[in-house]
């Protein structure tokens, strides 16, 4: 027997897609943003091929533990963003705020650990122009950190919109901010893989 559902009505398995979901333009923007990062990654891979011994030696001075912890922190934050989007869709303001606080705390931990890493690298005599590897390290992680900053501002704006007496952010805004945060996480996975893991011997 076929169950007839009114058109557009969500089923239990399908996530609800409404006219208010993330639009094509935003997906295209995220794709183009990642394409620019792909150019950076391509340039890195090109130079890694020509200076492999130097890159390998210097990549060994990065702490895979700190990088790994940051990877877990961002993966955890991505999960919390999913929770926040779901809570937002179902109108659970307190749940959304809780999840977003968790994401922002993860972002703060990520930035803090990155600063520790930068201080350590600079104290060891490395800098933006000290060697090809560290040029890429500072440029790639710096540009990523810039994205963490933008993402945090988007999430903070979303969270502030949930304050008492304000108009809550639209679903489209919430999902777009969430999608942006997933991109930030995805880019970090590639940076971690390339710089911290892939360049080792």
């Amino acid at each position: 027997m076929t169950t007839l559902l009114p058109p557009g009505r969500p089923t239990a398995r399908e996530p609800r897609r409404t006219a208010d979901s993330v639009e094509g333009g935003m997906w295209a923007f995220l794709l183009l943003d990642m394409t620019v990062f792909a150019l950076f990654f391509g340039a890195y891979a090109w130079d890694l091929r020509s200076h492999r011994p130097a890159f390998t030696a210097e990549a060994a001075s990065l702490s895979s533990v700190v990088g790994g912890v940051n990877t877990l922190v961002l993966l955890g934050s991505s999960y919390l963003v999913v929770r926040a989007v779901h809570a937002h869709r179902s109108g659970d303001v307190a749940g959304t705020r809780r999840a977003l606080t968790g994401v922002l705390a993860c972002a703060a931990v990520f930035v803090g650990l990155k600063c520790v890493e930068y201080v350590h690298a600079i104290e060891s005599g490395h800098g933006l122009t000290s060697s090809p590897f560290f040029s890429y390290y500072f440029v790639l992680t710096g540009l990523h950190l810039f994205h963490v900053g933008i993402g945090s501002v988007l999430l903070l704006t979303w969270r502030r919109s949930l304050a008492h007496g304000r108009r809550p952010a639209s679903e489209r805004w919430a999902e777009s901010a969430g999608a942006y945060w997933h991109m930030v996480d995805l880019l970090w996975l590639v940076i971690f893989t390339l710089l911290y893991v892939g360049s080792h011997r």
Binding site: M26, A28, D33, V36, L39, F40, P132, V139
Partner: protein, 242 residues
């Protein structure tokens, strides 16, 4: 009260001017590229790592160098009518006058910051028999002025994106708003050109010169096309109203 014939004629004339302003977008690309090709700046520009001898040889190459660059300075100035037209179209539907004003000021600043380095470059070619170090200095000044003052353009992109994405009846389609966000992003890291003489982050590098050139050209063509399209649509609407 219906508009008089002369008022309608004035409105139609204004819309034709708007369409010309739109054509200025692709014209900026065409004229500037022609100038750079004549001068020899394109297809392969001088590099941040070029030797003093290479820089002096480029500017001593002949009168086509300063003249080509002068033509490029005319090309990059053609963005001015486009900037004005975009503010006009934003203001037309948007009751937030500051957005159009910031776009206008930021766009005008960007235009000035594109013209000045062209003139410095042309000056470098004006007297190539001067002490070589001075030609290198002028060349560095021209290239760094050309590529690194990106903040006004990024502000312009952000304001245009805000105007397009937050107004329900914007003249520009929403994807143009996202395009502005992306184009702005491709310019943010151009300041790296101050730190590098070689590699992809140097002024001549893939991620500085070539990426910015590509995204700026795309932006000029897309924005110009949409300004022109808006002008044509409005012209048709005014003719149907008669």
């Amino acid at each position: 009260m219906t508009a008089t014939t002369s008022e309608r004629a004035t409105a139609a004339a204004e819309l034709r001017i708007l369409a010309i302003c739109g054509w200025c977008g692709p014209a900026t690309v065409a004229v500037a590229f022609a100038g750079w090709l004549v001068a020899g700046v394109l297809p392969f520009p001088l590099r941040a790592s070029s030797t003093t001898a290479e820089v002096v040889r480029f500017y001593a190459g002949g009168v086509h160098v300063p003249l080509g660059i002068a033509l490029a300075s005319v090309g990059v100035s053609l963005v001015i009518p486009l900037v004005a037209a975009m503010s006009h179209l934003v203001r037309r539907v948007d009751d937030r006058p500051l957005l159009a004003q910031v776009q206008l000021v930021a766009g005008a600043t960007t235009a000035a910051l594109l013209v000045v380095p062209m003139l410095v470059m042309a000056t470098a070619g004006f007297r190539p028999d001067r002490p070589a170090d001075l030609t290198v200095l002028l060349n560095d000044l021209a290239w760094l002025l050309f590529l690194t003052p990106v903040a006004p353009f990024v502000i312009q992109n952000l304001v245009l994106a805000t105007a397009v994405l937050t107004h329900p009846s914007s003249v520009f389609p929403r994807w143009v708003g996202y395009l502005n966000l992306w184009v702005g992003f491709t310019f943010t890291f151009d300041v790296l050109a101050y730190a590098f003489h070689t590699g992809p982050f140097a002024w001549h590098g893939l991620l500085i010169f070539w990426l910015a050139l590509t995204s700026y050209a795309v932006w000029l063509v897309v924005m110009g096309w949409h300004v022109r399209r808006a002008a044509v649509t409005l012209l048709h609407e005014s003719e149907e109203d008669r």
